[in-house]
Symmetry: C2
Subunit: 250 residues, 2 copies
Amino acid sequence: MSDVTLIPIDGLPEIKPGDDLAAMLIRALRASGRSFEVGDVLALAQKVVSKSEGRIRKLADVVPGAEALRMADESGKDPKNLQVVLDETARIVRWQRGVLIVETKHGFVCANAGVDHSNAGAPDTLILLPVDPDASAGRIREGIRKATGVDVPVVITDTFGRAWREGHMNIAIGISGLPALRRYIGEFDPDGYELRVTEIAIADEIAAATELVMGKLDRRPAAIVRGLTRPEGSETARTYVRPHDKDMFR
Amino acid sequence: MSDVTLIPIDGLPEIKPGDDLAAMLIRALRASGRSFEVGDVLALAQKVVSKSEGRIRKLADVVPGAEALRMADESGKDPKNLQVVLDETARIVRWQRGVLIVETKHGFVCANAGVDHSNAGAPDTLILLPVDPDASAGRIREGIRKATGVDVPVVITDTFGRAWREGHMNIAIGISGLPALRRYIGEFDPDGYELRVTEIAIADEIAAATELVMGKLDRRPAAIVRGLTRPEGSETARTYVRPHDKDMFR
């Protein structure tokens, strides 16, 4: 197997609603003497995608409801902030000691429905997850294909916590042009034993890998994975959503 | 920021108890015209580490106890197999529909205490996690340092499931020479907002990244991460173990 290279894309400007991310990425790459190549996978941090789509709420415009006010009372948290999170929430999974773990409308389980203050680009502003991150990935992929002729699978990443592990890592919330899972079901090791771990979350691993060259403080929200041997096919990131009847930790 | 390269290490033979993994890795690298370089991080799949340490049990030698027999009765699973898992278990987290999620003696929460059949190298043989994966990582790091003069941080990886996501990914169960977490606590984005996500699980991300070049079926259990900008310091993988009083999903 050959080497895989993680290539950070530097030089993206601050992203604003309506910005054409595909065009901006192509420009930023060109400025560093590079271009998209066949076989590349593009990883993009959710925040720039959300900003380009206008998935932004100003706290000044938020009127907290009864539940947000009650939760603010219990926790000392800002009721407007809580209301924005509740608006993005399908179901509260845990609410303990001011920590709010929810299932988003997409089905993802994460803290605060992925709503975030930091790197919002303006004060008193919250960034929401894209309404349909798979569709977002598809649009950016299509924009790159139209402009360059190269079909680059796209993974939209966000930084999630884990149930039993300290620290956060990047995972995939949107996918286009790539399977979510590499399936080993029915495959056997050299001794003839069927493999225990049968499905590897390849887009999640791409997300985690590219975080290593992204960084949180320096406006580098995009990276390319080059040289990856990857399975054929295309799935959405909803593939990762565990059905409720298989969820042992609701 | 510069590119990061993920370099698979091919050509390792089947590993046996007592094997000197550091020496075998150096030889395998040399055979492909490479060597360890300053700044490299080595990722190693748990299974080869466990095999080299003799962390192997033959099912023929296992006598199942009352709990294993009861669980076998409930699930149709092999009682000897269950006994081996229970021997590695500090606490059962979930036991539902034949799925056994436990806390290992290290504090990691995973299926079947990380005990595994596949790629065991012999029939009716189970591979256990290393007793102290951080110490294992330290020994291999020291072996490489002594033989080459290069201090290469080592991450021992295993493939874990997730509470709410389908598919598995590699995470770090042992670390030497590298921090577990990249800490942004007290750091601020360009608008002056303190970062929401303050601790990135960098060794877990290294584990996930290197899985992309490892593969499960082709005996390629090692890879190098080259060119990574990484924080100073050294922590164990126990840093990831969430204290019980912070665990909302026990």
